[in-house]
């Protein structure tokens, strides 16, 4: 009797997963398929697409330094944004996770609220505080660090800052949930056995956080790779990432096949980097187990 009950429970759980599966297959995989399929035809101009299978868009992408550079800039800005988001986000997440006062909940709530502020507002905020007469330039010039106002518009630094602004909240929330799963007693034990605070972080906290950091990094990286608004607004029409180029190709050139090719390259690049990261982490963990 109890066995039959168990079977029924399993069946119900499968049913619960079904709507999500349908959603993912139809809406996400379906739309990606449309792009992928469309990328194998030739643009005939003015939004028209050929009927014969053709790989000329891919040939053009991989033989034209402009497109290859655009891919490189996309990966580089996303990687830099991920790295600096982790550097900034980890201490904040650690502090909140280890706080014993009610402030931790307040800080978390603040981060959640900030995370859901639309990116357009965030980017315009950045543009205002970094403007020539803005808060940051007034301070930098006031203390004599710079002679002329520093701008984050129209350069890669600005795009990286914009991407960090976009992903930092998510990063802190992800890292917070990872650090919370690591018992505080491990840190206390390390310190009781004479480890300095830095050594405890390096030898205990960091290794235990690595799986979570990896997943968090990949999520931040993936978000940054596909981010359009920060790159479009802060890039100032000068920094071309793949999402920016896709938008221009669709909206202005109405070259749907080429846009499909760019989308496919972006998708495959993200998938490959994710796969590579997971393989590397597995090897790293296996190596650590062998050493242990």
């Amino acid at each position: 009797m109890s066995h039959r009950k168990k079977v029924n429970m399993n069946t119900r759980w499968e049913l619960v997963l079904l709507p999500s599966l349908i959603f993912v297959v139809v809406l996400i995989a379906g739309s990606q398929y449309v792009f992928l399929e469309g990328s194998f035809y030739k643009d005939l101009g003015l939004g028209r697409v050929g009927t014969d299978i053709d790989v000329s868009n891919y040939v053009r992408f991989f033989t034209d330094s402009f497109y290859l550079n655009t891919l490189w800039i996309t990966v580089k800005t996303a990687a830099l944004a991920t790295f600096f988001t982790l550097i900034l986000g980890f201490p904040v997440a650690y502090l909140i996770a280890r706080m014993r006062s009610r402030w931790s909940m307040l800080l978390l709530a603040g981060i959640v609220v900030a995370t859901f502020v639309t990116i357009v507002i965030k980017v315009f905020g950045l543009m205002i505080i970094f403007s020539a007469d803005g808060l940051i330039n007034k301070f930098l010039m006031g203390v004599g660090i710079v002679d002329t106002p520093y701008t984050i518009i129209g350069n890669q630094t600005g795009v990286v800052v914009g991407l960090m602004h976009y992903t930092l909240g998510f990063g802190v929330l992800l890292l917070y949930s990872v650090i919370q799963t690591i018992p505080r007693s491990f840190e206390e034990a390390a310190q009781i056995h004479g480890a300095s605070r830095w050594r405890m972080h390096y030898r205990v906290l960091l290794p235990l956080s690595i799986p979570g950091i990896t997943i968090g990094s990949l999520m931040i990286f993936n978000m940054s790779m596909g981010a359009f608004t920060s790159a479009a607004l802060l890039g100032g029409g000068r920094v071309f990432t793949l999402p920016v180029l896709i938008q221009r190709t669709v909206m202005m050139e109405v070259k749907y096949s080429m846009a499909g090719t760019l989308s496919a390259v972006l998708l495959v690049t993200v998938l490959l980097i994710n796969l590579l990261a997971i393989i590397l982490i597995r090897r790293f963990r296996a190596a650590r187990l062998v050493i242990a």
């Binding site: 939004g47 543009m127 701008t151 129209g154 479009a232 100032g236 000068r238 221009r248 909206m251 109405v254």
Partner: protein
Amino acid sequence: MKHSIKFNRTLLSAAIISLGVSFASVSQAGEFDGVTLKVATWGGSWKENIITKIAPKFEALGGTLEFVTGSPASNLAKLIAGRGKAPFDVMEVMDSQEQEFFVTNDFIQKIDYKNMSNVAHLQEGQYNDWRIASWHTQESICFNRDKFAELGIPTPTTYADLINPKLAGRVSIPDITSGGGMANFGGIAHAAGGDETNIKPGLDLIKQLNALKFWSRGGEVVTQFQSGDVYASIVHAGWCVRARNAGVNVATVHPVIGDKAVGVHKYGWLAIMKSSENVKAANWFLNEYNDADFQLEYARKSGVVPVNALALKALSSDPVSAEMLQLNPADIARQLRVDYSKVDKSVWMDQWNRSVSGQ
């Protein structure tokens, strides 16, 4: 009894008359009863002006105006994606979006000028079977007078005058994807000695201008002037009017281009979609858009130049518009209009992308 019959007859006549009067007014008010006209236009003040001035008139006739907000480029993308089945009845079309393309793809239908009284105030070339001009903009150099005086920079007369070390990183230029992007780039190409088929001189000049950024929406320019990020911008004079209204001491210059042209001119057009089922209402809307009152109000608020001759004349009495815009028809005729039939947009986009990204 007789009195009672007479009274009843009077009452009946009054009732019939009042019914007749109300029926007549209902039939007039209900000319567009139940009609929802969808207009594809920009957001912001563009849409607001229509909501304030045209929508109440349409509602009084029983109809409802709805808007599909977006740039003409994004609306065209919707049209192509829907294979001509547009999610709107009327669309704002740019000069750079060639009429031939819309006609050959069966996207638009002929305009019925039978009841369009305002056409009488338009010039030849401002309307044809397929589209009707709704405004024009004057692409200019907008500059901060205070900053130029402070830095000792003379008032510019050409684009090349903005090549100045004191202005390095202080100039903004429209991105080619922006509403006025192609018109301005065409103007710059001509000014640099090129033309629609030879854009390299224009791209080289843009490199020398050392722009802070390539703006994609005119509103950005006003913000850049306010924040002190830019001292000069290549933008249509309407945005310069708005920057002045926002408190920045700016002025416009209509740049000298070659031997003949001064300034750059760009039309906005209206067209009725082939898939529209509200043809009568769409034609009514086109006529209202060219009404002198609407055109004048629109021009004062957004800085575009009316195509209606009465409104154009009336705008001369507005001091800011008179200072910043060229309102004399002879001056307007001297402005450069890019010949889009010679433009290979794909080449323009490709070359632009490579040049501005430094690749």
